[in-house]
Amino acid sequence: MSNATLVSTVVNGDAVQFACPSDESLMSALRDRVGLTGVKEGCGTGDCGACSVTLDGQLVCSCLVLGVEAEGKEVETVEGLANGGQLHPLQEKFIEHAALQCGICTPGFLVAAKALLEKNQNPTETEIRYALAGNLCRCTGYDKIVRAVQAAAKDMRKQGRS
């Protein structure tokens, strides 16, 4: 590996170090060096959202961010959504509502939906659809995904969490 840079970061709450070339995407670094293959590559050009993660709380396509940009920041991926054996309400509702078929886009949708619900606890259908418009799903026609997000939002409001 030529021109590798050592990057110190926090991923899903754990301190993580990895060395990566300066032109390597955060997506590749997370997948190939940290071992978090829940971060999916669908396009590598920021068009499909399958590699969505949050960087210091900001939703990003990790294929459009460099690995070295994670230095000193906090990264959250789909692997960090559940609290031990307790699934996040979005994860629960995605299963309950059959909001996944093949499941390849699911990690990105969950990360993006969580980012939405942290900003807006009671989104309308239209708000959900626009917030998730950067995530492509080819299996479901989005119907059951939107319903799952609505159901999770409702549950989270009841539980008083965001």
Binding site: P21, L36, T77, L90, I95, C102, L136, R138, C139
Partner: protein, 754 residues
């Protein structure tokens, strides 16, 4: 042991419920492993060099510089994939499509490949491969390719199905004709005749997971392939043949699959990855970029279709003719033939004729895409039927009902229909509240119908009962969208146990007999049938073991609700034995308890659907927004209704994308201009409304539970439904799909000018 596949009506305990899928947690937590998620010790990165030219002679490939680069472990060209196809032309085309042999036939055609220690080195190595091309004239349009002066792709291709056989090579691989009756007499009876020409553009399946595999070949000829595929057994057979491996020595494991829709039924880079591994003597992971997926893997045909239909004033369609031209990319296919078979399949038309022309062009080799070839034919036919209905002053729904195919109707492609659901779907549409909902300004409503054959095929299932009475079900069709649930439900239903006590596993090629590819909506139909029979096999063993435990003849044992029951007055003091109790004693009553089934699942029930679409067209921009959409489809029997609805909704969404936006755009230079999701725009969440679904259940008489395939049919009606809705919203009949904003705007402007 032969089993009875006839439908028997029964009350279900598990089937028809909405249980949680067993792979759900893995897929919402990121644990599920897809094609690109595997790695191997000493694994290398594989990359493919692709032709930038649509048609060229490859004069020379110099790989010396790439081979010398530090970290490069193998460079291959077609010389490393010698032709072992032994006169099998179909296989030879697959081989040539995987790696160009002296000529490049489309922009994106693979010409060489490298394996290197990392991504950066592999990318550098590709740039060091020097390919000398001699550019040749190209053709990418189906109508242009049929012209006598078009550049010919294959000098040895003479049109089949033409008498006398042509003596000059052309791009037309085959002519197909089918139908029955006397169409001229039929047109003579008609009060109204409509004739139109339609075009549809090429679309891609658009699965979000690119093709990906991990290949490992040993010097002794043993090999393993981990791959995202719809048919790991077929991949094994094809790769074995192309690489000269023994079938039993190549183990193919189907990873989780991130969408396929027909596009993962064919090999692309897998033989290349195996050849790289063989040369490097190390495992090689090869993952396509999205650009490669678009340029190098299977889109569907673009088409050009003429339709002529005649009807009496009472709505009876007296004659129908279609002539359809489908391009199969750079290699011949049977896509026009499928168009011919499906075009008029929803209707009972006494005089019908279809002619199909299969054509090659300088585009990627076409692969199946969900009900392949049917949506384009249906676009032409369903649009024409609406024009007929308007001309004779009947409603779109009544004219369809007047001519609908029923049990006993002869399908245009030959067989006579058994019980089918097309009339039921149309009646359900007619009665649906959606049909009475008010439309707003600039909105219109359209309906359309669709047909798909569905298939069965070779299938093999193992069912093993553990000592605690829980069950492993091993199936060989892949789980593209929740099939593991359906299979476990069926096994639980048959055995009379809880759904949670069955765990479904997708077996690799070393652990099960051959299974045909998961295509043609065959997964739940075929593996469901084999699961029923395997469970019944296991029940027979369970009864024998119970008889042994009791010391009574097996004839006196029945299986009821998950228990062995001794029947007859002689045994009425014997308490029932549960599956768990029998399983616990298996070691002392004859060993492991299992059921197996190997079957050619015949008798797939045809699938029919009718859709309702409301669209709003912006007269300023020509943009169409789907405001309401309803799918009605016959499922035969819905095993897991959530995932049946999901198939309906997903298929409708793909059809809507095709109808409104998706198309391959080629420049005059023959290069694909939009090989990415930004410019090849599939529907996003904000483009879609909720999609209402209605599942009808007209049992398939050839399946114990009445199952029909459900995966494909609902991609067939949307093009017609959207086109009809746009016509009703604007008064403009669109004959070119996708009906994208520029095309609709141009049509609206022409209407204003006219």
């Amino acid at each position: 042991m032969a089993h009875d596949n006839r439908y028997v009506e029964k009350d279900y305990k598990v089937v028809g419920s909405r249980v949680k899928r067993p792979d759900g947690i893995d897929k919402v937590t990121g644990k599920a492993r897809y094609g690109a998620d595997a790695s191997a010790p000493g694994g290398l990165v594989g990359r493919v060099l692709r032709s930038p030219h649509p048609h060229a002679q490859i004069v020379k490939i110099n790989t010396a510089k790439a081979e010398k680069l530090t970290g490069v472990k193998a460079v291959i060209t077609s010389e490393d994939l010698p032709d072992l196809t032994n006169g099998d032309q179909g296989m030879a085309h697959i081989l040539e499509n995987c790696m160009a042999r002296g000529r490049a036939l489309y922009d994106g055609h693979a010409v060489a490949a490298v394996a290197a220690i990392d991504e950066q080195t592999a990318a550098k190595a590709l740039k060091l491969i020097d390919v000398k091309y001699k550019k040749l004239p190209h053709v990418t349009d189906v109508d242009e390719a049929m012209k006598p002066d078009a550049p010919v792709l294959h000098a040895n291709m003479f049109t089949r199905g033409v008498d006398p056989a042509p003596t000059k090579a052309s791009n037309i691989s085959a002519r197909t004709q089918m139908g029955y009756g006397d169409v001229e007499a039929g047109f003579a009876e008609a009060d109204v005749i409509i004739e139109r020409t339609y075009k549809t553009e090429q679309t891609h399946q658009g699965y979000i997971e690119p093709h990906a595999c991990l290949a490992s070949v040993n010097p002794d000829g043993t090999a393993e392939l981990w791959v995202t595929t719809q048919g790991h057994f077929t991949f094994r057979n094809v790769c074995s043949k192309l690489l000269g491996l023994d079938i039993a020595k190549l183990k193919v494991t189907s990873s989780e699959i991130g969408g396929g829709f027909g596009g993962k039924t064919h090999v692309w880079a897998e033989p290349v990855a195996l050849a790289l591994s063989r040369k490097a003597n190390r495992p090689v992971k090869l993952v396509m970029s999205r650009d490669e997926v678009f340029r190098g893997s299977g889109p569907t045909s673009s088409t050009s279709i003429d339709v002529k239909m005649g009807a009496k004033k009472d709505g009876t369609i007296t004659a129908a003719v279609a002539e359809m031209r489908y391009q199969g990319g750079a290699f011949p296919g049977t896509w026009a033939m499928l168009g011919c078979m499906t075009a008029f399949a929803c209707y009972d038309i006494k005089n019908n004729k279809t002619i199909g022309w299969d054509v090659v062009v300088n585009r990627p080799k076409v692969a199946a895409y969900r009900a392949p070839s049917a949506p384009m034919a249906a676009f032409a036919v369903e649009s024409t039927i609406d024009l007929l209905a308007k001309e004779i002053g009947m409603s779109a729904i009544d004219v369809r009902l007047k001519n609908v195919a029923r049990e006993g109707t002869q399908a245009p492609y030959g067989p006579t229909y058994g019980p089918i659901g097309i009339e039921n779907t149309l009646e359900a549409v007619k009665a649906h509240p959606h049909m009475r909902a008010k439309l707003k300004k600039n909105q219109g409503r359209g309906i359309a119908c669709g047909f798909w054959f569905n298939i069965g095929g070779q299938t093999c299932v193992d069912l093993n009962i553990g000592e605690d009475g829980t069950v492993n079900l091993n199936v060989g069709t892949v789980d593209v969208g929740g099939a593991r649930s359906s299979m476990a439900m069926i096994a639980a239903e048959e055995l009379g146990i809880s759904y949670d006590d069955v765990k479904t596993h997708i077996g690799d090629t070393a652990s099960l007999g051959h299974n045909d590819t998961t295509e043609g909506s065959r997964g739940t139909f075929s593996s469901g049938m084999a699961t029923i029979f395997a469970a019944r096999d296991a029940i027979q063993v369970l009864k024998e073991r119970a008889a042994k435990m009791w010391g009574i003849p097996v004839e006196d044992v029945e299986w009821q609700d998950g228990e062995a029951v001794a029947i007859g007055q002689m045994h009425d003091n014997l308490p029932a034995l549960s599956l768990k109790e029998i399983a616990a004693k298996a070691g002392r009553t004859g060993g492991p308890i299992a059921g197996h089934n190997e079957v050619v699942a015949d008798g797939a029930g045809m699938g029919f659907a009718s859709h309702i679409c409301d669209v709003e067209v912006d007269p300023e921009t020509g943009r169409s927004q789907i405001v309401r959409y309803t799918v009605v489809q016959d499922a035969g029997k819905a095993i897991h209704p959530d995932y049946v609805e999901g198939q309906f909704q997903g298929a409708a969404a793909q059809g809507i994308g095709w109808a409104l936006n998706e198309e391959y755009i080629y420049g005059d230079d023959g290069r694909l201009q939009n090989p990415g999701f930004l410019d090849y725009r599939i529907p996003v969440c904000s483009d879609m409304p909720f999609i209402d679904t209605k599942i009808l259940e007209v049992p398939n008489p050839n399946h114990p539970y009445g199952i029909r395939g459900v995966g494909e049919t609902s991609i067939v009606p949307p093009l017609g439904a959207v086109g009809n809705a746009i016509a009703n919203a604007t008064g403009v009949r669109m004959t070119h799909a996708p009906m994208s904003p520029p095309r609709v705007l141009a049509a609206l402007d022409a209407q204003d000018a006219g």
